[in-house]
């Protein structure tokens, strides 16, 4: 008798429940029976403006005054609910900006012809920067960034130069607010991922373990979940045959995923104590389902999301309760985010996350209302600045993605580069980027006004008195107008602007 994938899904659900009972700590068990069924966020306290600014800082690449205004007007929970359904938010201006890029809609074969000039890579990075800077669908973009970094692919590796575009557009974006299982399947079928982690060239008689290992260690259940080297070998055997149409295959759909039974390692496999019957491509499908619904994946993904959106070291309690939501909603990202936003841990975490370089860079562009003209040369120059700051999207070469810890990024050269970038930005010394400080400060008459107007514009709130008086003192010395760019640069360079 062969077990179909549908049967197996049922089985793996049972497996998940069984494992939860068998291995979870008592505190988790106590929470098991009822987790709130969240279909939409209940109203959040409206009078608390700092909670509103805090929430927007975490779920946008920098809240602009217009966004803060809108959230105040319609209420924070309604604002977040709208953001959770990005297709409901018109974003024509951003879509139109994508028209300048020629390679996004191309097939891999078409991109391949332009690869020598580096065009597909540069365009995908530029498109990402522009979307993060301009899109009205900010929460969506933060999740695209999160998952893209979770399923990290080094764009400079071989075929990834032409394939990562499809990973972004067809695997990550369609699933960024969906079910984790669907996202995992999309990633596992993504040619860029299979090339990046050498799955595409893994053949049955001596499988390559790169993808099989990282699939468990980094994408799903985590290194501490107790899998063994034997599990890695078995997963790697099962996944042989998951490959990509290569240049030498002379087939029409170059760069597409396909299963090649000729290089598959046949026979049953045993993964995490579960027997996977011999079944070609279905073996891998079953393993993905098994991993997506594994209790360790709920813990691992919940912890990572909590690190991104709450603090560098979230408490085990909040991770446990989020993992419950993850499990009970079958890995539903929207449900998860609703629970996260309502948690006390989130509400009390304002200002605790250090901006990664990309967070800093995009937020500086957003709050200064910078206009960006990205021809090819400007695009490259802008990427150079981002490179100096340390985080060009898709260029982290190991498979674990850019770190998200203050300890990693708060370095001497890191701070200096931020101070310098802020100054260059507000003095219009970055090619292709323009900031109009006169416009931003047109209603400010005094030194105090300038500092306050720019603080509200950049930080969403006034600076605390001690920092404010340092800048007011500077603004008052000499010619106010001449001091404005330096004041603006100092706010972007301040410790306050480094946190989100």
């Amino acid at each position: 008798m062969t077990i179909t994938r549908r049967d197996f899904l049922k089985m793996s659900g049972m497996f998940a429940a069984w494992t939860a009972l068998a291995s979870c700590a008592p505190s988790e068990l106590a929470l098991t029976p009822t987790a709130p069924a969240l279909t939409a966020l209940p109203p959040l306290p409206l009078d608390d403006e700092s909670l509103l600014v805090h929430t927007l800082r975490r779920f946008t690449f920098g809240p602009t005054p217009a966004m803060i205004e809108k959230a105040k007007r319609i209420g924070l929970s309604a604002f977040i609910e709208e953001q959770l359904f990005p297709e409901s938010i018109p974003d024509d201006a951003t879509d139109k900006m994508m028209d300048q890029f020629t390679t996004l809609d191309m097939t891999p074969a078409e991109r391949f012809k332009l690869e020598k000039k580096g065009l597909p890579v540069q365009e995908l990075i530029s498109a990402t920067i522009l979307r993060q800077r301009h899109s009205e669908r900010q929460l969506f973009e933060t999740m695209v960034d999160f998952w893209g970094n979770h399923f990290s692919i080094y764009i400079a590796k071989g075929g990834c130069k032409v394939l990562k575009t499809d990973d972004d557009l067809k695997a990550i974006r369609p699933n960024a607010l969906g079910k984790f299982r669907d996202l995992l399947h999309a990633s596992a079928h993504s040619p860029a991922m299979l090339v990046y982690l050498d799955q595409a060239t893994s053949v049955g008689d001596a499988p390559n373990e790169n993808y099989g290992r990282e699939l468990m260690e980094l994408h799903t259940i985590g290194v501490d979940s107790g899998y063994t080297h034997h599990d890695v070998e078995e997963v790697s055997r099962a996944l042989t045959g998951w490959t990509v149409v290569g240049a030498r295959d002379r087939k029409k759909d170059f760069g597409a995923y396909y299963f090649n039974p000729d290089i598959h390692n046949n026979g049953e496999k045993h993964v995490l104590g579960i027997m996977i019957p011999s079944g070609g491509e279905d073996e891998g499908m079953m393993i993905l389902d098994l991993l997506a619904s594994h209790p360790s994946a709920a813990q691992f993904i919940s912890h990572k999301l909590a690190v991104r959106f709450i603090s560098d070291s979230p408490s085990p309690e909040v991770v446990d309760s989020l993992a419950q939501v993850f499990t009970q909603s079958d890995g539903d990202t929207r449900q998860f985010l609703r629970a996260l936003i309502q948690s006390d841990a989130f509400k009390s975490s304002a200002g605790q996350k250090f901006k990664k370089p990309l967070d800093f860079f995009i937020s500086a562009l957003r709050v200064t209302d910078a206009s960006i003209k990205l021809n090819q040369r400007n695009g490259r120059m802008l990427q150079k600045h981002l490179e100096l700051l340390g985080q060009v999207p898709f260029t982290w070469s190991p498979p674990n993605g850019f770190p998200d810890y203050e300890e990693y990024w708060s370095t001497t050269s890191g701070l200096l580069d931020r101070w310098n970038f802020g100054m260059l930005l507000v003095t219009n010394q970055i090619r292709g980027v323009e900031v109009d400080l006169n416009q931003l400060t047109k209603d400010a008459a005094s030194a105090q006004d300038v500092v306050d107007v720019l603080s509200l514009q950049f930080l969403g709130q006034l600076l605390p008195d001690n920092a404010r008086s340092i800048l007011v003192d500077f603004a008052s010395s000499g010619n106010l107008d001449a001091n404005i760019p330096s004041i603006a640069g100092l706010i972007l360079g301040s410790p306050h602007f480094q946190m989100r």
């Binding site: 982690l197 050498d198 060239t201 893994s202 053949v203 049955g204 008689d205 001596a206 499988p207 390559n208 373990e209 790169n210 290992r213 260690e217 290194v223 080297h229 890695v232 250090f354 100096l388 340390g390 070469s397 190991p398 674990n400 203050e406 300890e407 990693y408 990024w409 708060s410 370095t411 001497t412 050269s413 890191g414 701070l415 200096l416 580069d417 101070w419 310098n420 100054m423 260059l424 003095t427 605390p464 001690n466 920092a467 340092i470 800048l471 500077f474 010395s477 001091n483 760019p485 330096s486 640069g489 100092l490 360079g493 301040s494 410790p495 306050h496 480094q498």
Partner: protein
């Protein structure tokens, strides 16, 4: 010294010592050390090969027939005199990959030693855990938050308030450097200065210093940054010409090594430099004599040799140590690559090194001698190598604090007292 000192405490302490008058800020060890005592050990340069170097391709055990049985596509041919398509013989049993040619002279001069079948004893095949353990210096144990170099700096019998006492090249702080002693991270000396409206730079800087003196978690890093800017402003970077036969590769690694030489020569208090070279995770099409791994080995060896030659006489007081989180599987895979393994080799280079020897006991590559039946066994704990360097070359006797979970020390004799 109290080893529980927090970084904040240390900064205060360092501040209170910093009153020694009329000394350049970058010669602070004079302010700590009693007159007439020479507290300094070597400068140590730690090169981390991230991704897991294939140690049996770098230093080939050509005398072990099982090497050739396991590596039908990737094995480096047995040394033949005058050929650049074979291994370079070292001692009749081991040989260098031909792309490591720049290291052969240093071997012959006896300034380069190799340790083989060495590594961290924890069996993990995870890059990230393996690197983490290696850099903490506590394999299998994640509860100690500092790195081995951080603890060395903390427990050394002298102190040194130079912001260039410890540097992390590449702009990030290597985990080995974690600890209470501040570290300066650096991508490029020439870019390390404050920008902005030139007529207002002094004012801008003063206000930034004030903004970073209000109690944020970033204050200590900012202080380090300002101190580092002060010093680097005085170094002429544009007219730097490496000495000797140094020809640094034009890569991130090569540039990092070159800047280490500049900082060492500038005499601004350098004790420790960490440099990374990535790309060693060769699962697929690793390359035998040409390709991914040979290219990396070439870059790696010319970077090491250039730094050594560039330092000239100073190399007598510099020790360069290399490591990688694990070696690679003895048997190659079917995509002409190698998967994650266990034992590896390390290079130790410097004036105080007993070079021209391969240290360690070779466990053999016969199936029954492999770790878990698949990997090169580890017969030398990497801490034996580092411990010896810390004690004999860096002159820090506090090994039980630098490597707190290790007790089973073995004397290798890889460096001189």
């Amino acid at each position: 010294m109290n080893t529980q000192l927090s970084r904040r405490d240390f900064l205060k302490l360092a501040g209170s010592f910093a009153v020694a008058p009329a000394l350049p800020t970058w010669m602070p060890r004079m302010a700590f050390a009693p007159q007439g005592v020479e507290p300094l050990g070597d400068i140590i340069v730690v090169v981390f090969q991230r991704g897991g170097m294939d140690g049996i391709s770098a230093v080939i055990p050509h005398g072990d027939s099982h090497y050739y049985e396991n590596r039908s596509a990737l094995a480096i041919p047995e040394p033949e005199d005058g050929s650049d398509k074979t291994g370079i013989d070292l001692d009749g049993f081991f040989g260098l990959h031909p792309s490591l040619r720049p290291l052969k002279d240093l071997w012959d001069e006896k300034t380069l030693a190799i340790v083989h079948a060495v590594g961290s004893p924890d069996p993990t095949h995870s890059h990230f855990d393996a690197m983490d353990y290696m850099e903490r210096g506590t394999p299998g144990e994640k509860s100690i938050p500092t790195g081995w170099i951080g603890r060395h700096l903390q427990t050394a019998p002298w102190q040194n308030e130079s912001p260039f006492r410890a540097i992390g090249m590449g702009g990030v702080m290597q985990a080995a450097l974690r600890g209470p002693i501040p570290v300066t991270t650096l991508k490029s000396i020439s870019d390390f200065h404050l920008q902005g409206d030139v007529s207002q730079l002094t004012e801008i800087r003063a206000r930034l210093e004030s903004l970073y003196n209000l109690g944020s978690s970033l204050d200590a890093d900012a202080v380090e940054t300002f101190n580092a800017v002060n010093i680097l402003d005085k170094i002429d970077v544009n007219n730097y010409t490496p000495s000797g036969s140094a020809a640094y590769p034009e890569t991130e690694f090569g540039m990092a090594m070159k800047q280490v030489a500049q900082i060492a020569k500038a005499e601004i208090g350098l004790e420790v430099a960490c440099v990374d070279i990535g790309g060693w995770d060769t699962h697929n099409q690793q390359g035998q004599l040409e390709g991914e791994l040979p290219t990396l080995l070439d870059e790696f060896s010319s970077g090491l040799a250039s730094l050594y030659h560039d330092l000239g006489d100073r190399a007598k007081r510099v020790t360069i140590v290399t490591m990688s989180e694990f070696g690679r599987r003895v048997k190659e895979n079917a995509s002409d690559g190698t998967d994650h393994g266990h034992g590896n080799c390390m290079f130790v280079l410097g004036g105080g090194v007993n070079g021209g020897q391969v240290y360690g006991q070779w466990p053999g590559l016969a199936p029954e001698n492999l770790f878990d039946g698949i990997d090169l066994n580890i017969t030398t704990d990497y801490r034996d190598v580092l411990g010896e360097v810390v004690e004999k070359r860096l002159k820090n006797p506090a090994l039980s604090e630098v490597f707190p979970t290790y007790a089973d020390w073995k004397n290798l004799g890889v460096v001189r007292e």
